[in-house]
């Protein structure tokens, strides 16, 4: 909720860096002093990472057993489960659906949110405040209260069990618009005025002046919206009825219900986790910035 608050990037105070040219004896004392810290941090990291390790380990189990592996450190690894998962009819299709659901949503959300954010930040028009506050107030409504009417409305538009119906319901993202507005607000008016004097039309100003400026916030928002869709479960589950239209999260859950071998299920889980991991590694700094912005007053 306070993603909507002031986003003026708080100056991240960088604590004094430890100097590399410390004398050896001091470095040794420092290392000794920090050793218990490292032990503690490693212990927490191992516990945190254990479920991921478990997932990967089970996925590489040989055999079709639904029962669990006996050892935490298997001596035999097999990619049979991955072959099963990738050769199955549904799993690649679900992955494709997840990708379309996420990527198309990201593009539309970023486009619409930046357009609306630009108008709210830089233009005067009747009803601006009222509309803005209505958007803000809607954040108070619990998502689950709206999910049944949303289902009925999408059904009324004949959008159930279709990709566009599933996407359309999720792109009115208020937080995204607020973030955009805050960010565009900080673009100097002089830049827009200069473009206007040069004879640029309204859309051109948005497209070639405003949009390029929003790149950093686009990256942050894009990662968040992507993951939100990639990990989304409840809405895809109730809006898609045919198995070939499932997204990965929904499909994974049905695998569990169908008593598919645990190794195959975990192999599918690994497949669903790979894009998350790649995005996390590549775009980590945008994430961190986004999270920190959300907590700042």
């Amino acid at each position: 909720m306070s993603i909507t608050r002031d986003l003026s990037p708080a100056p991240a105070p960088t604590p004094p860096r430890m100097s590399g040219s410390m004398p050896l004896s001091r470095r040794l004392t420092r290392a000794r002093r920090l050793a218990p810290m490292h032990v503690l941090l490693i212990a927490v990291a191992v516990v945190t990472a254990f479920p991921f390790y478990a997932m990967v380990m089970i996925a590489f189990q040989p055999g079709q057993a639904i029962v669990l592996p006996d050892s935490m450190f298997p001596d035999r690894l097999s990619v049979a489960a991955f072959e099963d998962a990738l050769n199955s009819q549904n799993i690649p299709q679900w992955a494709l659906n997840s990708a379309i659901y996420s990527v198309v949503s990201v593009v539309i959300v970023l486009l619409l949110a930046s357009m609306a954010g630009y108008a709210f930040a830089k233009k005067r028009f009747a009803g601006r405040e009222v509309i803005f506050w209505v958007f803000l107030a809607m954040l108070m409504i619990p998502y689950h209260l709206t999910i049944i009417p949303q289902y009925l409305i999408v059904g009324g538009l004949n959008g159930l069990d279709t990709m566009w119906g599933m996407i359309a319901a999720t792109i009115a993202n208020a937080q995204a618009m607020f973030l955009m507005r805050q960010f565009i607000y900080s673009i100097p008016d002089e830049m827009l005025d200069a473009a206007k004097i040069d004879g640029a039309g309204e859309f051109r100003i948005y497209w070639s002046i405003v949009l390029p400026q929003t790149k950093p916030i686009m990256a942050t928002l894009g990662t968040f919206v992507f993951l939100w869709h990639w990990n989304d479960f409840l809405w895809p589950m109730i809006s898609q009825q045919s198995p070939e239209n499932y997204v990965l999260t929904v499909g994974l859950n049905t695998l569990q219900e169908q008593q598919v071998p645990l190794a195959t299920m975990m192999a599918a889980a690994v497949v669903s986790f790979i894009p998350t991991l790649i995005i996390f590694i590549v775009l980590q700094r945008y994430f961190v910035r986004g999270v920190m912005m959300s907590g700042m007053k």
Partner: protein, 312 residues
Amino acid sequence: MAVATGSAPVDQTAQDARQPPTRKRRWWRSKSAIAAYIFIAPYVVFFVVFRILPAIFGIGLSFGEYSLTGALTFVGLDHYARLFADPNFWGALWVTLKYAAIAMPMTVVLSLAIAQLCNRMMRGMAFYRSIFFLPAVTSPVLSGLIFVWIFSESGPINRLLSAVGLEPISWLQDSFWVLPALALVSAWMNFGYNMLILLAGMLAIPQEYYEAAAIDGANGWQRFWRITLPSLRPALFFVLVLETVKSFQTFDTIFVMTGGGPVRASYTLTFMLYDQGFGYFDFGYASAVGVVLLIIALVFSLIQRRLVGRDD
């Protein structure tokens, strides 16, 4: 000073005189305003159709009966009367509060402890922080599936228990242990996100405070209680609110891991809404549950506002 105030009106009139004649046109009819409406239009349409209408419709549905043919009949407070007489509703409310009372403190304390642990310059810290943040980007469904195995009869936790000579616990099939087990999963999923927020707050605390405290001979524990915690109040408060909201709305992990069981021991209000709505297709009754969720959200945000108001 007097000169300055005296000259201000003069400036004003001078400026008015320089106004271009087009200024007479109402600003909301200006080209710029029309462009603004075009810019917000797609967004507003989606927002009205998929957010505002559902919210109104959702509250309305709780006073009506929706038949699968699409007809809506007004039934007044019938759903609420039925709700308040339904032991499953009171059970779900109790489970929701109990779950929040376990999950919220567990997650916040864990987040705070790990943020404190990470709040220092050390070799490899960036790596540790990345590991801690990884669960926060993992889907709840995926986390749920892995933890079903971790909590299972012969899973690693029970193996650890038998290794130290304790009886294994069937975590997800035991009505006492199921909520703590689910809370543990959400703590694992959420602490990384909170940790970052708290860490940002901790980094903003002036180093001088700690130096002064060190001169006064305060130990680490005292520094944490007397300096870190009080200075961290806004960030901590944000995390508290966030976790409270999340714990009231937990659905995915419960759906994947327990399906509300055993014997409704993890049947929360959000789960009841789903179950009534899409299990029994009783949309009106389910919406009444949704309105209760809305009221709970409003009450908590009022309490929050009261608390913040007093603090500032």
